[in-house]
Symmetry: D2
Amino acid sequence: MIAMLSPDLTARILAFRDARDWKQFHNLRTLSTSIVLEAAELAEHTQWTRDTELDEVVRARRPLIEQEVADLAILMTYLITDLGIDLEQAVADKLRNNAERYPVDKARGSAKKYDEL
Amino acid sequence: MIAMLSPDLTARILAFRDARDWKQFHNLRTLSTSIVLEAAELAEHTQWTRDTELDEVVRARRPLIEQEVADLAILMTYLITDLGIDLEQAVADKLRNNAERYPVDKARGSAKKYDEL
Amino acid sequence: MIAMLSPDLTARILAFRDARDWKQFHNLRTLSTSIVLEAAELAEHTQWTRDTELDEVVRARRPLIEQEVADLAILMTYLITDLGIDLEQAVADKLRNNAERYPVDKARGSAKKYDEL
Amino acid sequence: MIAMLSPDLTARILAFRDARDWKQFHNLRTLSTSIVLEAAELAEHTQWTRDTELDEVVRARRPLIEQEVADLAILMTYLITDLGIDLEQAVADKLRNNAERYPVDKARGSAKKYDEL
């Protein structure tokens, strides 16, 4: 099991941006749009894939999939840094919120949305 | 500057899923689609926002924005765990790749894509 | 079935698919995913664009923009044909619904969502 | 300009916008973002759906699906009107372009992208 990014790598992501003077292009709109576009590139790998073919796609396209996931992590690093989001805290809060929306006894084994449970 | 997720919180994200028996619904297709949908919810906060209004939107909607970002981090945790992706390695590789595509002297101060530089 | 485009062009869109035996790949999931991906390609043209640069982007990239819009229309033609949606009726119904959600006196000059009006 | 829908309904779509003075919010960026968001809402209906459950989802959710498709058609009507796109011509051009990328003898029965054929 692999945790998300080390402080050292986070610093390198930010240094990469500074060296190119790209922070001027980054704000909530451009970064969230970019996250949508990278997520779409990730989803493109299963655009036409039947359920029975999913494992094969993961095997055949792993390097490309890892690149899209890395792009997403890089964009999220810019976003949480620029907005000053404490991701650890935000995720802990969201898990608590989700636990209320999806109580174990109602949500267990169901893919329904909380408002349909 | 805030690093991504601690091993403890990652374990809690996975325990949340186990308690609800939701792993059966997760694969590359459903998780990448879900990442697109959460990214779209994040982008919705600036759907109609003019450049001059961006700071105000961030101020007014911070709690909601943090929730969308947390949802993205949770989904990415499921994806990298299930696919066995070493995110630290994947991001380090991608930064190296991006450094070749976007050499500092050509990319500095430009928002152009690498194939238009 | 009400055509999005002329009946002749709609027929050519469907004949294009038949000649390639592609209907087997089309269902609500694959077509809606494909619509997301094409919409993302359209949105990519303004990924980094400031408000003041929008007109210039439209001028410079018009042929590419028209191609993305055409792709969206083609995918929507497959979807409404396969699902048997009467688009003319569906749009008329939606306009009526939107008129209730966005009464002129409250919505005039506002970009707020109906639940925030 | 060729309407996506009947000229009468297209006129009603535009009158709806005029009555609310919403054209001021519409440009290539805001409309293409909105198309992404509506497409994501459409895709949400099959977010967790297995291949074997697709027909059931279409049956159970038809009214909601028709509303999302109508929203997409309304947004595309704004976009092609504002940009002065002749959709009939754009689609005819794209079909010709696709016919070159996907020749029948190579593309028949294959879901591969043109650059992998």
